[in-house]
Amino acid sequence: MRYMLLLYSAEDAGPQPGTDEFAAEMEEWFTYTNEITEAGHMLGGEPLQPTGTATTVRVRDGETLTTDGPFAETKEVLGGFYMIDVPDLDAAREWAAKIPSAPYGSVEIRPIMELPTGP
């Protein structure tokens, strides 16, 4: 079963770029990604640029509205994602708990909506 792990955290939480802690955390991310890939559960995943680079587009009454920033101003923002394939929610919870940002952020687990395949 496929799940999306959505990684949220405050942008000023956790190790900041340029510090030794940041370098150490990068190692953790590589290790985690290798581990879940070797276990055969990894379908994809990427880190995202900070919300300062975000652009939000809405179409209202046929008109395209473009605004600077994320869709909602919240302290914890989406910072990256993993898409994984594991047997059930408990397995997904186990992998979510191992994510390096879990100690200072949150991981939202969302099952993928499986659409019926066409003819």
Binding site: M1, P87, D88, L89, D90, R93, I109, P111
Partner: protein
């Protein structure tokens, strides 16, 4: 006759649902087929009597209902193979036996941490306890559509997010069991001291909690906290008849007619507590049960072994730094060392988080002041307690108490 069928239903329902969930891996389908099998059984057994192995009869009937449903619905296509495989296999499944693990898996699944706590409670009563949606709605004093929606939402999440109904590895089992114990404890406290504006004691929920706690003790007999909770619930519930007088007013522990305590429940509770101590170090439930046993052993309130109770609370405070536990210890100490000692401790607790609005703190303070002969201050404390008390039965009790103290009768 009817009683026999009811008794069979009570025992067979969770076993049947558990076996069906294992076979079908679909809670909703399992529950629907179990219901249909029970309706068929009620109809047939009424005339023909209960068969020798009612469990096997129910399981066979429910499986047939499942096959019918699956054939009718495409979305269950993948289940047919599963079910046919079990039907053919020579395993316990096809002989009508269910393993204790199936029932444990059912309980763990209903109390999965990914579900909202209110949904965990409702699901446990529905799926394990076999209560109808309307019975659960009545017990929790919510409209039936609200309860139905709560159950539907939970079942939808179980299916969509693939919440497993399995027993986890030994190391993960402890935290998952803690969630089940919490749910059973919540069902009991909801029945025992409802915050809702109805009766203070709702016996139906207490009965459910007793039944669930003992079922769990049967399934996992070697877990100290499982035994501890069964002990705590039985020992507390043993006082049910004595807790309210003929007018439905609350009776304090010290004024209760102890001949009305249920000796059979006390014996069962004590047995669970002994088993808890044998199984390993007891936790918070077991310690509270140990305090309840001390009360049960005293023929009169004046004969209570307060030193033993204070010792138990010392251990509880040390392990679980909770101001509520400290409040209980302060009251226990007031009987051992005098009300002045208790009052100092209670007044220190006011500063603690969440305690300002906790009406039991003012109740304890009022009673200690009364015992010290400081009537005016006691009345003021009762006023604060009454203002904070959410339960009408308890509020009426406090109002009468306040009047008696003000009139110098207590």
């Amino acid at each position: 006759m009817t009683t026999t069928i009811e008794q069979v239903f009570r025992a067979e329902w969770p076993r049947l649902v558990a076996a069906l969930v294992r076979d079908l891996r679909d809670l909703e389908l399992a529950e629907d087929c179990a219901s249909e099998a029970f309706i068929a059984a009620a109809d047939r057994w009424e005339h023909e009597g209960v068969p020798d192995r009612p469990g096997a009869w129910l399981l066979t009937t429910a499986r047939r209902k499942a096959i019918d449903r699956i054939r009718r619905a495409d979305r269950y296509a993948d289940k047919l193979a599963l079910l046919e495989a079990t039907a053919r296999s020579a395993s316990g499944a096809s002989t009508g036996k269910t393993l204790p693990d199936d029932q444990l898996a059912l309980l763990l699944g209903c109390c999965h941490p990914a579900l909202d706590i209110n949904a965990q409670v409702a699901l446990t009563l529905r799926v394990v306890g076999g209560l109808t949606t309307s019975e659960i709605a009545r017990a929790f004093l919510v409209p039936e559509p609200t309860m139905a929606k709560r159950l539907t939402r939970a079942k939808h999440k179980i299916r969509a997010a693939n919440i497993p109904f399995t027993v986890p590895t030994r190391e993960r089992l402890a935290e998952r069991l803690a969630a089940v114990l919490h749910v059973v404890y919540l069902i009991f406290t909801e029945g025992h001291t409802s915050a809702e504006p109805a009766a203070l004691v709702r016996g139906d929920l207490c009965d459910e909690a007793v039944w669930l706690a003992e079922l769990l003790a049967e399934l996992v007999p070697d877990e100290p906290e499982v035994r501890g909770l069964a002990a705590l619930i039985l020992l507390t519930d043993a006082r049910r008849e004595a807790r309210l007088d003929d007018q439905g007013a609350l009776v304090l522990l010290e004024d209760q007619d102890r001949s009305r305590w249920d000796r059979e429940k006390i014996e069962r509770g004590s047995e669970h507590l002994r088993a808890a101590h044998c199984a390993g170090p007891v936790g918070a439930y077991g310690l509270q049960a140990a305090a309840a046993v001390v009360h049960s052993a005293a023929a009169r309130f004046e004969e209570t072994d307060w030193a033993a109770i204070v010792e138990i609370y010392d251990e509880l405070v040390e392990r679980h730094h909770s101001p509520v536990v400290e409040l209980n210890r302060a009251v226990a100490r007031s009987y051992l060392e005098g009300p002045a000692v208790g009052l100092v401790e209670v007044e220190e607790l006011v500063e603690r988080p969440g305690m300002v609005d906790y009406h039991y703190l003012e109740v304890a303070r009022a009673d200690l002041l009364r015992r010290l002969g400081r009537q005016d201050e006691a009345v003021a404390a009762y006023d604060r307690a009454i203002a904070r008390c959410p339960n009408p039965t308890e509020r009426r009790f406090l109002e009468r108490r306040r009047e008696a103290v003000a009139a110098g009768q207590l």
